[in-house]
Symmetry: C2
Subunit: 226 residues, 2 copies
């Protein structure tokens, strides 16, 4: 089988709306049951079962059985990255048709596998860059020395000691980069731990709490949230 046939096989796994719905639901890094994924995909459990089997056989999902429950998660960060790449190309809807449910919340703040995206994610990247905590270029970026001290103090130290590079991830709703990689993941983890943001049921839109609005304003200098 040629390499482009392998592309076709992998891509066709994403190319069904039900399966795409499932993968998107798993993009917040959590594991969900087959039943929850069936609900997310708007199909019956039997249909979902077939789809999940294909995704697992194709190496995109990892399955774990707990009693009668079957939990699925994305098989690796690489799958998350691939989905990000497809999303970046698929892009947002045209501004004229943004009336679909939940869209605004996703645009405000959401998880993108293990890091934050949407306006919140981009605002974090912008603030860190503007304050000289990270230096960002076209192909990448790096945490500065003062940035490392800042992140240490904030409780989001990405790695001890060594140089810490940043992986920009083109945000599909903002069309500008947010921070992926270890830095992005550490920031997200810390913000959840502080209670500034909270996961919601049935969506990977992330809620910004009152504490979060204050925290982002005082610590990073931007206003976000209702």
């Amino acid at each position: 089988m040629s390499d482009s046939n392998r592309i076709a096989v992998t891509a066709s796994l994403l190319g069904d709306p039900a399966r795409a719905n499932m993968l998107a639901a798993l993009m917040d890094g959590r594991a969900l049951t087959a039943k929850e994924l069936a609900y997310a995909a708007h199909v019956t459990p039997q249909t979902a079962s077939g789809h999940l089997g294909k995704l697992a056989d194709g190496g995109l999902l990892a399955a774990e059985k707990q009693g009668r429950h079957r939990y699925y998660r994305l098989a690796s960060p690489l799958i998350g990255q691939m989905l990000e790449g497809v999303m970046a190309v698929a892009g947002p809807e045209s501004p004229r048709s943004t009336a679909w449910r939940g869209g605004e919340a996703l645009r405000t703040a959401r998880t993108c596998y293990d890091h934050l995206a949407g306006r919140l994610g981009v605002a974090l990247a912008d603030a860190l860059s503007a304050r000289g905590h990270v230096t960002l270029g076209t192909d990448g970026g790096e945490v500065t020395e003062q940035g490392a001290r800042f992140l240490d103090g904030f409780g989001a130290s990405p790695a001890p000691g060594r140089r810490v590079f940043c992986r920009p991830c083109l945000d599909w709703s903002e069309r500008r980069p947010h921070l992926a990689g270890r830095v992005g993941a550490a920031l997200a983890c810390r913000c959840f731990a502080l209670g500034w943001i909270a996961r919601q049921r049935d969506t990977r839109a992330v809620a910004i709490t009152t504490a979060g609005r204050q925290g982002f304003q005082q610590t990073f200098g931007f206003a976000i949230g209702d």
Copy 2:
């Protein structure tokens, strides 16, 4: 239309073998005619015409008419990046079934949109890293000062003056990173210009010339090619 339906629509464009073949053929950054793409995809011109229309309508290809010839190319580097991401997940064939035609040449050296991939691409990244010309981490890397001087001297200066970050791209055949981004593109461009590598007709496998074997050995310290 929800974001995951947009994923499905975009992915399904890649999910057909004929279309995947065409996109793969265009991954070396060249523009090809509809006829050439039909040949690459092993379908008739009329079938190819329908597929190309879909890829162009979907924003994946850009079309340009020259007389009776219709040239298509990938619409943007972002498309190349997306395809890289799918290829990284699709991965190589299992070692037991590598007998397909042209596979070894692709693994040795090929273009990955605008930069070099395969063993050659990975060897370049390794050599630059080992010699201290670039520093590479998990999420990215940067050209060092001595590295910038080296690249200047080599004729592959990626950008004047400013800090130059590197974008690692997981090589699907080697499962380790080669260099994408501006640095990778500048290296590839220079190696073509030096005649160390040459494009081949009907494949994005890149031929390593005799001059190239000597040049890579003397300048970068690795042996590659027949």
